[in-house]
């Protein structure tokens, strides 16, 4: 059995922290948001562009982020970016709600995260279950997700269904 510390810093998290996905600042975007983790002052700036899918419904298009933070926050933003890139806006928001639930779990995996129920987009996100045991770190893991949720919601509200 691994210790709580090992569960917190799973290899997958350390890897994402070292080589974060979607880090950057794209030129073209609908919305940019800036979120701060008030407990530590760390920040993330996230840009997103929505695209219409075949039916015209909005889908998360290009998404990049920059900012500084601990390994948990960097890894989580990285995992988040991969999870939501290319998915419909509604699904991105639902994934964000799922992740929040994981963080509120106090380390007991909620049913929707067990192997039988897991949304495959959250496959890497499950690695963060260990964070839920450390209340002070939950905000770290949520930082990127909160920024994404905010940005996507803003973009969806300002971009008409038929993407212009």
């Amino acid at each position: 059995m691994s210790t709580p510390m090992e569960q917190l810093y799973q290899q997958l998290i350390l890897d994402h922290a070292k080589h974060p996905a979607h880090r950057g600042a794209q030129e073209a975007y609908d919305v940019e948001v800036h979120h701060v983790n008030p407990t530590c002052g760390d920040e993330v700036t996230l840009r997103v562009r929505l695209e219409p899918d075949a039916s015209g419904a909005p889908v998360v298009g290009e998404l990049t982020w920059t900012g500084q933070g601990c390994s948990i926050s960097q890894a989580s933003a990285s995992v988040m970016s991969q999870a939501v890139a290319g998915v419909p806006v509604e699904r991105a928001l639902a994934l964000s709600a799922d992740f929040r639930e994981l963080m509120d779990s106090r380390g007991v995996l909620p049913e929707k995260f067990d192997d039988d129920h897991l949304d495959e987009a959250l496959e890497d996100a499950v690695a963060f279950v260990g964070v839920a045991r450390y209340p002070a770190r939950i905000k770290c893991a949520l930082l990127g997700w909160a920024a994404m949720k905010d940005a996507v919601a803003q973009a969806a509200a300002t971009t008409p269904e038929e993407g212009r």
């Binding site: 407990t39 209340p135 002070a136």
Partner: protein, 444 residues
């Protein structure tokens, strides 16, 4: 005078009779309060009838604080270590205990050092808004000459002087509702005194002098009609009555831990969420900010925006334990017991010649707080004689000079009970009071 003795039933006949405290239960309650066993003045058993000033504390409150210091003391909302996590958890659990005790959401409850600080917080937020702090969102709190602040003649200085000062800082005008001969706030004056110019209506839920309980509904209704904010001084109600602040409909309410069986050094301010969100901060410093540069600062959302610096963590934990203790007794039972005591106090005072009550003499809509004057004997001399019999009452103006002036007296003696007060204690009080005039050679 009244036939209120032993009246423990509901004021409203349609209510189910609330549970009161039986003798065994009361004995168990008393056993929880270490101080109640002490003696004063050469071995007399203490009869503590000064709970209106500050209540005594049950062991669970002392233990909660002791346990916090001995087991999980650390700075909250800061630091990654386990103690800090545990301290934060204890602090926020306490917030939940106190918030749910008065029926509000956790993030609508701001810790303050006492009720006075809570009332001042609202007054200073308004003057900061007047000076442009908090920007457009805070403009609804701004005051200008011509605007009016309405208080009442029944207020404790804590709910009067901050508004006088706010008026002086902003150029607004202070007006007030009078009190009737029973000491009740004249709700009939609401229609004329509270007008479109009124921006704030600040009033007490229960008077610490007369014990009169305010019927809040007409105040809130009138304030809503004219768009004024309501600020309730809930210092004397929360410890003694079931209080559901959202049901009362007030915008803000302040109360203190030390009057509700909790520690000194802690109180709480309730504010409706949307108001707290729009309000500029007052005390500034660590833990209530977001981004700080040398030039400027952005602020955290409420309640943290109003909690600057290291908080009274241990005291919050103690206040949470006190709220839980009261909730477990049941505030209906507490109120029923105290209504019984109120009847006994009124009868005791009525039975002694030359004693006059300041406040309602009928045991209806009042606390077990009875202020009185003894003909020909100054209140302080009354208190001294009672003290010699082991009976602790408060004497003076009880931080309500205007109310005393309204009744033409400079000082009163006040007997105020709490959940741990017994019938026997009130009998001792009565007997001591009966000897006062003879001691000073007045009366017949």
């Amino acid at each position: 005078m009244t036939d209120t003795l032993d009246r423990t039933g509901p004021a409203d006949e349609h209510d189910v009779a609330p549970r009161t405290l039986g003798p065994a239960e009361l004995a168990a309650v008393r056993a929880d309060f270490p101080l109640l066993t002490r003696t004063v003045r050469d071995g007399r058993p203490l009869v503590y009838l000064d709970s209106g000033a500050t209540s005594q504390k049950p062991e669970v409150v002392l233990d909660a604080e002791q346990d916090f210091y001995a087991q999980r003391n650390a700075a909250v909302h800061r630091g990654a270590h386990q103690l800090a996590e545990e301290a934060t958890e204890a602090f926020e659990t306490a917030r939940h205990q106190v918030a749910s005790f008065v029926g509000v959401a956790d993030d609508e409850l701001v810790w303050t050092s006492n009720a006075t600080a809570g009332l001042n917080l609202v007054a200073y937020a308004m003057s900061n808004a007047t000076l442009g702090r908090g920007g457009d969102a805070a403009r609804r709190f701004a005051l200008a000459p011509g605007d009016e602040i309405v208080v009442t003649e029944a207020e404790h200085h804590a709910n009067l002087v901050p508004w006088q000062e706010l008026a002086a800082r902003t150029g607004a005008t202070l007006r007030w509702l009078g009190v009737d001969d029973d000491g009740r706030i004249r709700a009939d004056e609401l229609a004329t005194v509270v007008t479109d110019r009124t921006k704030v209506l600040a009033f007490t839920h229960a008077s610490n002098v007369t014990g009169a309980i305010t019927d809040v509904a007409p105040f809130v209704a009138r304030a809503r009609e004219v768009g004024a904010l309501t600020v309730l001084d809930a210092c004397q109600s929360v410890p003694h009555l079931p209080v559901d602040l959202p049901a009362l409909g007030v915008d803000f309410a302040a109360f203190s831990g030390h009057k509700m069986l909790g520690p000194t050094g802690v109180g709480a301010l309730y504010g409706r969420r949307e108001l707290l969100e729009a309000m500029p901060p007052v005390t500034t410093g660590g833990s209530m900010v977001e981004v700080v540069t040398m030039e400027s600062t952005t602020y955290a959302p409420p309640p943290r925006r109003f909690e600057a610096g290291t908080q009274m963590v241990s005291q919050a934990v103690g206040m949470g334990a006190a709220a839980t203790y009261l909730a477990e007794l049941g505030m209906d039972a507490v109120a029923a017991h105290e209504r019984h005591l109120s009847g006994l106090l009124l009868d005791a005072v009525a039975s002694v010649p030359g004693v006059r009550v300041i406040g309602p003499t009928e045991n209806v809509d009042r606390l077990a707080t009875v202020s009185f004057v003894v003909d020909g004997v100054h209140a302080h001399d009354v208190g001294q004689v009672l003290d010699d019999a082991g009976v602790a009452v408060r004497v003076g103006h009880h931080c309500a000079q205007p109310l005393h002036r309204r009744f033409g007296v400079a000082a009163t003696a006040r007997a105020s009970a709490a959940v741990y007060t017994t019938d026997e204690e009130i009998a001792v009080f009565r007997e001591a009071l009966a000897g006062v005039r003879a001691f000073f050679g007045v009366g017949d």
